[in-house]
Each structure stands twice: as structure tokens, then as C-alpha cells.
Symmetry: D3
Subunit: 296 residues, 6 copies
């Protein structure tokens, strides 16, 4: 049988752990989806707990954005839960994520994916480009993720942008904020991708004309923010942007055509006081309101 | 509209945070219900997070009890979520809990309530005794909870058994394992209630004949267990029982008629490594299987 | 009998946990007072531990401000301990706080209150305006706190500025730094109060002429600071000011007539590494030296 | 001037952080005293925070012992605060502790010292034996502490019982519960001290006749308890006793003449959920009531 | 060039993080080896940090066992560091572990492996049985680990004993202490393996005659111990044995022929106060001394 | 015998816990050395764990600096481990540190020292000035460290710059970023040392001409950074610089002659999510590459 709303069964009850303000309508213009992939991270595991924790802490936010003067009554969204993933079998997991996101995109909805490790973006980009063949990928990240392999493994959170570039062409991959990588990754990025290291907002301003009018997949690795504001991540890299700068960058994209988005690498076991999960939840709220507005 | 099962909307997804193995059937013989009351605790707050955390960690258990040789396919149960409670208004909160539990009991189902602070038991006992007027209350606890008031407040987790005794008669209140209280509480308990301090299993063996054939409300304050095994509670009291002894006591009650039950005072912010929540979840599993078996 | 100084009884001993540098003179021009109210917070409780923890960590500071070139030998203050509060009874607690603060104000001393949740400011403003009927309230905060009720409760940390505005007139309520609230709160603030969202120091500069010469109650919700610097609070909101900006704002007020002040919503259980409590302690030191100087 | 009771200055206030139930009378028969020595510990420092934390958590206990049927109204005690100690100069610190304890003993009061690292016992035994030249020392501990030096240092928590034996004679040193040490320490203990390794309560029963009628200094290193119950200590050693066994041992000593006592090596930074500090506080309560009863 | 001992280069230096007391002789009769496999754990990852943390905390122990009256000068051992493993590729990792252990066994040394997740035992048993074809495996564990697959994956810490049984015959697999599993696992174990659930030491006593004279691989999943004593593990299961019972079981095996051993599933991110790692380190010390004695 | 590389003994193994990228060549131009001194800190101990933790987390970084376009293949360095120190005997410890650093400097190598508390800089400066008699000391710090004594102790982390100034002359001591101290320290600094409080990068720009051509000892107290970015330190002081500003300051010194350096006061027990240790590790990487480049 279909799931019952327990509030209809027992008076006064509420089912917990959906993102703040999610509606029950699976046809809403925006769909939130968790992808708790956490297989190839070596340094500090735990991104598998990201989606659940981001939802938990979203309760501490409001459903209104004073930055955008919009609230969730104006942009309804559905929280589809998490993709069910096996452990120890990354390929099967990637396929499951791809199927789930494809089903959202194919219905014309805007998917917002909660990670999980960055490798998931390979699956989600695969899903989205079926509908948007001329997709560009816009990455906010501390790390280049351009290795060809990592300790012999080709599908890894350290190689994901290399695989995506191979899939869609590196001239469609815009990398902003990068402040860590091997010499080879930086050399590769400078030659092949649209590589804008050590900056976020100023770089975004420069490339906005190149993005205009194109379908954009936005992937935000939360470690683009400085560890002082986002300690809860697998490979914190000092010297990042502030939350204010990240929010401003998201707001700046509102005028463009973002067709899918993810926020990845939130790692709750490392997230003292949950401030990284709360930051991710706020970014997601702004994205739902900013990118979802006008899609109904 | 009714809540949709997201697994039907997006392929491969799973909605998180229900107790392990819960079925979608609201008519199941056992109903799990959270009551995140957390208002009158002075020392270490946080029991409001108990129900959610117990559900989270239940995923680490199996659905089979090797002690009882039973599993959830034999005893289906429904997880009704949490009662929605206001903060700063204990009376309204108690009334909401009472209404929710009454709706379960009135349908002939066995309610198992996840706390929240111990004061909630006043509401749940009120709800249950409407259907079972000759109810007895069996308390496993480190604290007597027999104060007449606590810093001037009459409805408190430190006074709850006093209020319950006034409601149903102290001769129907069996208190086991008590190892902390004021001189007045111990004196009161020895005179009025069925008071068996400083012991759990041996005392239970002694009183089993008095409990036989009567409808029992079992209230387990997790602090009956020693803080070494159950650190995640508001007022840990050294010198308690082991998890093995608590599980044995629950198993021992299987032959009796337990008509409702709660597990209270699990306080996740204090629960290093979640071991208290996991213990509570295991007690709940044994209770569902042990008390729910044969009710269908 | 009166409390003895144990250092007079046992040689070499020191009584712990007073704010750094407090004197034994109850007639000192500044009086520090804790108000560990923590009843209406829903998301992350624990502000009840704020006063004690702020005192504890004050030991890591010096008694000299290089910003003001002043030290505690120039501005003596008395630490009056905490107001004793019942749990589960907010009205009685508010009355006790009001009485305590009134006794300080009535002796002509400057009270500095350590919270505790923001609701306490309703009590303290009541106490202070008896002596300063033309009081204005200056709020540094991430949240508007302008709800009319919160889940049906009218006295809540989410409604406190609404109640204060009703008490003293919204044209006497200056709200700076606000970056979170419902659509209704923002609409209400823009119409009724002196509402300056999304900014702190620039807004303060603009309103300084309006504040000049008037008795000011300064209420600092520590969450006005970004969670990266102040994670230890109940509802962290990304995108806040830096400690430097908050300290500069406090210093800027030195030329005005601050007659009472509080620092609220420090929540030690969430305060990894105590950095929020230390920030609050430093703000308190600067406030004692900056506002207390010249009052003797 | 003498310290004022702030409750007399500001209505409704309470000075925090005294051990639960302490009276203001410096002439009470029992005196509690903190000695936050923490200089020679190599593995996990932090015992300096022990006295403050034990006092903090004592608020979670009751002032009545159901084991002894005694409460603090029957056995009043004074909390003299902490001895003020320099850091980086152990000899000066030991001298300060000795002076403070001597002043208590010389007034005929029973001192109960809260540590701090075990080295402090050298100072306190020195202080006590001036009044009780035939003092015996009874040690409950996981470690022999019989090294002659530790990394070249002779005054260390690893050598303290060696120094005490040299001071009072090893035939007056009773060591119970020892389950860790070098081969040399075990060999030395077996030859020189009253050495009863790998047991607590059974060994105590055996030696009770030897202790009868003699003035006893009881030193409890909290690590005698298993790390499951007492994780908050510098060098946890698996395989220890339960809290129940430690409490029983303390109760067993009630019939003897305990003239001074300490509880040492509680290390709050390692004490998840404060359960070690709470256990220490309960031991202190039982000791005040058990050893102080009948001294007035 | 070969690694230099830094102590020969810079006077007074010491290389950190070797297990306490390890010698520089790679030909020592016992070899310690870390296998930080952590790929298939779903619930709480982090066992990859186990080997490093066990070594770190070993510094808090002594090199002498008072239980065995042996020390490391009598049983020298070499600490060979950790096997270097790829992430996201379990098969390659298992092969690397097998090679490393085989090289130890082939030199006639006793390998003691520090995990890492339990799946590693499949690799180590493979390595050991080449030299000992009639190997029996003795498992101390809370979980049966007898699933045929886990979420579709056949090589998992939940299936490892099934794979081992298939490899060496289930009649050579002795499973003790099991208190968690599916109905199917318990049914399978009762029929096929030497299955002794819900007990450790009593079961060991019963099977000792069956083990006598046979080469034994001992695998200790630390979760056989109750979570109160061993919280730092992936799937804590309440109701386990005490540290004392585990140590007694290890000591009991001393008279038998243990030819290889592992301690697995220590998960430092969950290990408040490091008590699980310390327990594992103590077990390893007793195993080195107990099983290595007489091998030189 | 000499230490063997375990990778030569057991195939595929790796010795853990060296700083990322260290080579086996003890004659490398840069030598990393830990000095886990932690004796005189009163507020929050734990810097003894700094060197080990900085090495641990260095694995999360890359060996390439995109800021300097240099990697460790261009600037090899040797990690000499930690100086072995006694506890409770600061003078002996300082002498051991001095000997170790002197051996590095005397071979013409650049020592980079990982603390440990700031007092160690007294020993390291002593060692370095033998070879560089005209040494200047450049301090980045929140605290002046100019006390003449601290609670009667002259060798303390609070007096270290006073002692160094006495040793080399205060006109050779440049103090930047200072935002905390007593009135006396600030007065002393303004008169005697090169004192530039409340600023880092702007002050550095001003003094660069004075530093040009002179041998520089750079001492970085990590608390110069704001506690939001560097919570893991003994005495956090709000209002500090950002990681970006500290890195820029280090980069700015590249054109000067830095002959030795330390990073001190990293305190892992206070370092939620390890972000302070990671920041220190990144500073060390930039220093190795920036100061070591061109020394071969």
C-alpha cells in the first residue's frame, strides 16, 4: 500500500526529517534528492550522513529569504528522500543515482541533489545531459578533482571533474575557487578546462557572459568555503571564501538558467556544532527559491 | 493530499528515519510514537532529540531477536512519528501527548512511546487508564520522581510518579531500581508506593505474582542502567544495572499483560557514540517483539 | 551567616568561577548578573549554561583592553552570580530576573546581564525602563524576533522584540544585523520598528545621531556574528559579521549613554572549543570598560 | 574586605559552583578542597579541571544517600575552593597544597581533597601525618605508582607511592586494585608494600583487621574503576572494578577511622558525558556522609 | 636510500607512533601489521583509523603484563606499519593484505593484524591457510557475519564468515559471543558452523578440547564487548561481555596453538575517550606476550 | 641495529605519520622537527599533541603549492620526528630542544619546528643564534608574551618574548598582530621592542625594509589567527586575522632570509574538526617551499 501520512492516523503527530517546508506534491517544480555516496573518500569519511543532517538542521532556518524576498509558498518543492545505495560497489551506486535524477529531469523538474561525496556528480551530470545535451558544468570547489586516477582508482571524488570533462568536453567545465591540487592537475586545468583558481566571485563575474543562455549544472563542493565556516568536510583546505561570498555567488546565478544543482562533501561527523550542514541548508534554500522561482 | 511514498515517485529512493522495520499499515498491532517533551529538565537538556535519534540508530540493529526467536515479520508495527509539541507550555504539550496516545489505545493497539522527559508518562498514563481503569504502573528508574514539587513546579520530571500515584493510587505504582532521591522521597515511597529500591531483576522476580493478570504500563527511565552503559541521559546516577539485566527484565515481562510502554530520558547531546540511543532501540525492539507477539 | 572568603579560612585557596577581575564590592559601578533562562528554545537547548561558561573562560583573557587602553583597576565591577530560576515556569522566571535587575538599576549601577535565551530581555527591559522611561532598545541580532507568537506561545525567544516594542513603542526599537525571519516579521519590522537588516556597523553609523543623548539598552544576540566565529548558539545563521565588526560596534557606542546591556543566546553544549563563550566574555570586558568608565 | 554573599546584594541570585549542599560555616567537621595539580602527566593532561567539574556536576545528585540513610543536614561540610597553584613549578605547588591541607587538619577537621593528578597525595600525606604520625595510606588504583623516577623526574604521578612509602614506611602503604605497572614496580610492591593487585573488595575484606583502629588516609585514583565507567582519566586501564564495587568499598571503610581522603586523576577533557566526574562526586558524597558522620 | 633512524641523525629525537615496545628487528617472532580497510561498512565508517589510533594509545600502557608475568623484553615484536590500500576498490585491497600477511607467515612469524573492518579477515585467513591447511578460525564477535550477500555485495564485513566458511569448511569455523544477526544467519550458523551464540567464556571452555592441537586463527571483533566498554565500533550491540571476560578468554587460549590473530572493527571517530582503542591495545599486548612467548 | 624501512620487509606497507612528502634523506636542505613541550600552559593544555596531529592531517593536503608554483620534489625536506622530553622538568626539556635544533642549524639546514607551547622558542632561538649572532626574531602572535614572570615562574609561554629580548636585545624583536596583554606588557613593548599591535600584514609591509638582508627567526603563534579559523589553541583571542592573511604574510617573507621558523600553540584536544592543525600544516608546507627553495 502507499505510505500513509501518520498525521492522519494519530492526531497531532508530525513525521520528522524532511527538508524544511517541503510539500507533499511529487509534481512540484523543484525536487530535493539525497545521494549519500561515501565510498572513495580516504581522509575523513562520513559524507553518507550529509543528506540526513542537512535536512535535520534545516528546521533551524526560516522558509523566507530576505535576500531574495521569496518564500517556499511561492516556490514549492518536493523532498524525494535518499537514493538507496549499496556499500562497497561504487558502479552500482552511480547507476542508481543516475536513474533517480534522470526520472526527475525527465519530468521537467529541477533536481537539487544533497551529497554525499563529489563522485556522485558524475552520475548526476550523466542524467541531466540526456535532456540538456549542451550542458555546461559550473564547479565551486577548493580542489581541482582533475586527477586521471587516485591510487589506481578512476572513479573517485579526486577524479570526478576529469571524468566529467571527458564526458561533456573540458571546454564546458568551469572551475572556480580551486586552491588545491597536484602540479599536474593545475597544469591540466589551465590547458583544458575553464580554470579560474584562487577566486570565486570575481571569477564568476568574468565568466557570466560565457554562461548566459546555456543550461547550467551547478556543483558546489562545500569545501570552497574556508574551514572556519565549513569544518564539516572531508578535506578542509584553509584559505577559502566566506559564507557571504558563496551566497552572493548563488544569488548572482539567479538570472541564468540553472537546470540542476548539487551540494556535496558535507561530512557531519566532522561538523562541530553543525555549522557546515546549516550553511549547506541555507545554500539549498536560496537555490530552491532563486533557481526554482518562475518554473511553475 | 495524502503523503506520497517517494519511492514511488523517484526510482530507487528510500525515505529515511523510521524505526527499523516499521510497516506502512496504521492498523498494525503495535504503534511507535515519539513524545519529544523537554521542558522541565534542569541539569542537562536534550531529551527532545531522543525519538529522532533512537530511530536513526535503529538501522544498526537487526529485525530479529535471537533472545526471543522472533522478528518483525511476525510482529508488524507502525511508526506514527512524533507528537507535535509547543515549547514553553508544558500543559498544552501534555494534552497533545494524551490525545495521541488515547487514539492508539482506543483502536486496541499497543502504544510504545519514545521520550522525551519522564513527565510525559503523566499524559500517557492518563490516556491508557481510560481503557484500562485497573492499570498498574511498573517503573524501572534510578530516581524516585516522588517529589511533591520541584523548585515550586508541580508538573516536572522529578514529580511525575507522585502525580501518577495521586491519579491511580500509590498501591498501583511499582518502583524498581531506585537509587537516588531525597530523604522525603524515600520515606514517602516506603510508606505509600510499591517501593523496591537498589535492585531491579531480583525485585521484579519478587513482585511478578502481584502483577500477574493485571494490565501493566511499563515505564523505563533509561537511567536505571549505569551511566557507563547509558551516559546519554539528563541525570546519570552511578551504580545502575547492566544492559543485560535490563533486557532480562523486559524479557521476563513477556508472560504478563503489558498494554503500553515508554522509554524515556534518552538525551542524545550527552550520548557519546550513541550507545544510549542504541540500547533504547534494542529495548524497543525486544518490547515490540515480546509484548506485541500474539496481539494480531 | 554571611559567606566567608575561603581564602581567609584555608591558606592559598581561591574561589573559582567569577568573571575575571570581579571585585568584592557590591557597590561597584558595574554589576554582572547571569540569567540562565532556557525554556522556550526549540532547536538546540543549552543557553542555561551560558553564564557559567562565559565566567569560566574569562580566565583566558587579560583584564586590560588594548583597544580602549583601560583595565579593571580603572573600572571595578561586581559579579552578582546568577538569578535562581525555576524550570518549566517562564513567567515566574521572568519576574525573578526583573526583580534582580531592578535592584541593580535602582542603586544607580550599570547592569550587564549574561544569558540565557533572548526572552530574558523582556524582563530586563521592564526593569530598566522604570528608571529610564525614555529608554531605547538597540538590538544586534541575526533574527528579527518579531513573531506575535511561536507555536502558540507568546513569551518566546522568537517573539521577544515584538513584546518589547509593544511595551516601549516600536519607534524606540532599533534592530541591526537581522538576516533571518518570516516574511511577516520582515514586513512588520520595515513598517513599525527601526529596522536595519543585513548590516551592522554601517547601519550603526547611520543611526548614531538618533541615539545620541538617549538612555540605551543594548541587547546583543551572539548569533549576529557568523557561525564560523560563534557556533555555540541555538539557531546559527550563516552570513553574519566578524568578531572584529562586533567589537568595533561596541566600541562605537562608548560615546553614547548605555545604561544596561545583555549578551544572550550563548549555548555551551554547541560551542566547540568554547570560542563563542570566549567571544562573549571579550565583548563583556569591552562593555564593562567602555560603558562603565566614568560612572564612578 | 570579606567576600559578600551576592544573594544578599541582588535578590534571587545564587553563587554557582560549590559542591552540592556545602554550608557557609568554615568550622564544619568536613572540609572539601580542590588541588588542581596537573604538571607531570604525559599521556592525557587535564586533571587541573577536575575539581571544578566535580563541583559542577554534583548539582545532578541528591544530598541524601539511600545507602547510608544520611544527608548533608546531618553532616555539614565546608567547600574551601581550590588551592592556587603556579604552573611549571611542581615543588612550589606541592608546598602550597601541603600548607592548605595542614591548616584543615590542624583545626581537627576531615579534609577531602579533589584532584588533580596523583602526585598531590605526596603533599597531602605530608600534611596529615604531622597530626597522625602513625598514619597508614590506603590506595585504590589501577597503577602501582611505585617507579623510582619517571623519565628522570622523581616527583611524578608515576612515582608518588614510592615517595610516600619512603616517607611513612612501605609497611604502612596498602595498595589495592593495581593492574598495571612495570615488572620492577610489581616486584617492588610484592616485597615492600602491602600489595594486593588485581582485586579491590575481596582484598579490602582481607586487610580490614590490619586497618582497624589506625588513622587512615584513603587515596582513590578514579582509574581503579574500569574505563567503561570512568573514561575521564589520564591513563585508562581496561579491566577495572564497577562503580558499585567502589561504592561498596567506601561504605565498608565507614567503621574505620578515615582521617583524610582524596579522589584524584579525574580528567574532564576526556570525560565524555561527564560520567567520571559524576562518579567522583557520588564517591565524595558517600565519603562526606560516611566518614564525617559522628565527627561533630 | 634506506630509511634512517632519526634518532641517529638528530640527538634526542624519537620516531612516534609505533606500538609500545616494538623492536627494530624485522625478524622478531611476532609481527604487528595494520590493515586499515574501511569500504563496506554502512552504519558508522572510520575503522580505517583503527591501526593508527591503537598504536597511539598503546603509549598509555606498560610493556609488562601482571596477568601473564611477561614483558616485551621476553617476547620481542616488530611493528611493520600499515598495508597501503586503495579506496573504492575492495578486491585490490584484499589482495594487498593477503600478500603482506603471507610474507609474514612464510617467514615463520606470528602475524597480529590491526583492523580495519572485518572483511579483512577473508584476506588474512587466505594468507595463513597456505602454511596451515588445517587451520581453524575462532571468532569472538557480536554479529554472525554469515549473510550470503549484503545489499547485493558478496564481499562485506557482514558476509565475511560466510566466505571464510566456504573457503575452509564451516566445520572449522567456531563462532562465539554472537548476539545479533538475521533469522537466516542464526539458522545457518546453527546448522553449518560451530555456532555458540550469547556466550563467550563458558562456550570457550566447552570447545577447548576441540581446538587442542590445531592451528588457530583468532579473529576478535571488538564489538563482542559491550558498547559501554567498547563504544568505538561501527555497529555497537548492547548486551556484550566485559573487558575482563575478553582478557580471560585470550589468556585461556595461551595453552593452544594460535598461529595468527586479528583485532578488528575499532572505529576511532566513535571512540569517546579512546577507551575502545586502549582496550584493543591491551588485548594486543596480552596476545603478543601470551601467544608469542616460546616462539623464539 | 639501524631502523629498517618496513616497506622493505613487508611488501606494500608504509610507515605512517610523517609529514606529507618527507624524504628519507637526513641531509635534505629543510628539516622538520617536533617539540611537544606543554608544561607551563595554565588555561587549556594539550600542545604536546600538536606535532603528531599536524603530521597526521598533512595527508589531506597536496605536495604542490598553487600560490608559489612549487612542490616538494623541488624542495626536499627530512622529518626528524619529535624531541623526546621529560614532563615536569621544563629546564631539561628546553636544553634537549636546544641541542636538537643546534644539530640541524650546524649542518647548514633550515629547521622548521612544530610546537608545543611557545616557551620552546626560547630554546630554539638560543640554538639558532650561535650560528647567526645577528639574528632578528619576527613574531606573529595574539599575545605579547612580555611578562617578566607568570605566577612566579620566569620560564613560561607568557614570558618567552621577554626572555628572548633579554637574550638578543629587544630592538631585534619584532612583534606583530598582538591584541592581548597586560597594561604593563603593552607599555613595555611600546618602549622596548619593535611593537606593532592589532595588525599583521600592514605592519609587516611597514617593517620589511628593516628586515631586509638580516637572518630572521620567524615564530608563528597560531593564535594570531582568529579563533573562528584556529580554535585549537590554548588561549584563543577573538579578533584575529584570517588564514588568507597569515598565508599572505608567509609568502611575503619569501624574498627575505628566514633561517629558522616555528609554528606553536596548536592544541589538538581543543581543535574541533582539526582545522587548526590543517592550517598549521598548510603554513608549514608554504614555509618549506617558500623558505627552502634555492637552499639546495
Amino acid at each position: 500500500m502507499a505510505a500513509m501520512d501518520p498525521a492522519q492516523v494519530v492526531p497531532g503527530t508530525v513525521r520528522r526529517q524532511r527538508f524544511l517546508g517541503a510539500v507533499d506534491d511529487p509534481g512540484a517544480p523543484v525536487v530535493l534528492l539525497g545521494a549519500p555516496l561515501d565510498t572513495t573518500v580516504s581522509f575523513r569519511p562520513g559524507t553518507r550522513f550529509g543528506p540526513a543532517r542537512i535536512r535535520d538542521v534545516s528546521d533551524g532556518l526560516e522558509d523566507y529569504s530576505p535576500y531574495l524576498d521569496l518564500d517556499f509558498s511561492q516556490v514549492p518543492f518536493f523532498d524525494a528522500g535518499d537514493v538507496d545505495l549499496p556499500f562497497g560497489d561504487p558502479e552500482t551506486a552511480l547507476a542508481a543515482i543516475e536513474r533517480a535524477v534522470a526520472s526527475v529531469v525527465d519530468r521537467g523538474q529541477l533536481p537539487i541533489i544533497l551529497g554525499g561525496e563529489h563522485l556522485l556528480t558524475l552520475a548526476t551530470v550523466r542524467a541531466v545531459r540526456h535532456r540538456f545535451p549542451d550542458l555546461v558544468v559550473l564547479q565551486f570547489d577548493a580542489h581541482a578533482d582533475l586527477r586521471d586516477d587516485y591510487v589506481g582508482v578512476r572513479h573517485s571524488h579526486a577524479t570526478v571533474m576529469r571524468r566529467i570533462g571527458e564526458l561533456i568536453g573540458f571546454d564546458r567545465v568551469f572551475q572556480l575557487g580551486i586552491r588545491s591540487g597536484t602540479r599536474e592537475e593545475f597544469a591540466f586545468g589551465r590547458v583544458h578546462s575553464r580554470f579560474h583558481p584562487l577566486q570565486l566571485l570575481p571569477a564568476l563575474e568574468r565568466i557570466l557572459p560565457q554562461l548566459a543562455g546555456r543550461p547550467i549544472y551547478l556543483t558546489i563542493d562545500i569545501d570552497v568555503v574556508d574551514p572556519g565556516f565549513a569544518p564539516g568536510t572531508g578535506t578542509p583546505e584553509p584559505g577559502g571564501v566566506t559564507p557571504g561570498e558563496l551566497l552572493a555567488a548563488v544569488h548572482r546565478l539567479r538570472e541564468l538558467q540553472v537546470v540542476a544543482m548539487d551540494v556535496v562533501e558535507v561530512c557531519p561527523p566532522q561538523d562541530a556544532s553543525d555549522i557546515t550542514a546549516i550553511l549547506a541548508a541555507k545554500v539549498v534554500r536560496e537555490a530552491i527559491l532563486g533557481f526554482g522561482s518562475g518554473r511553475q
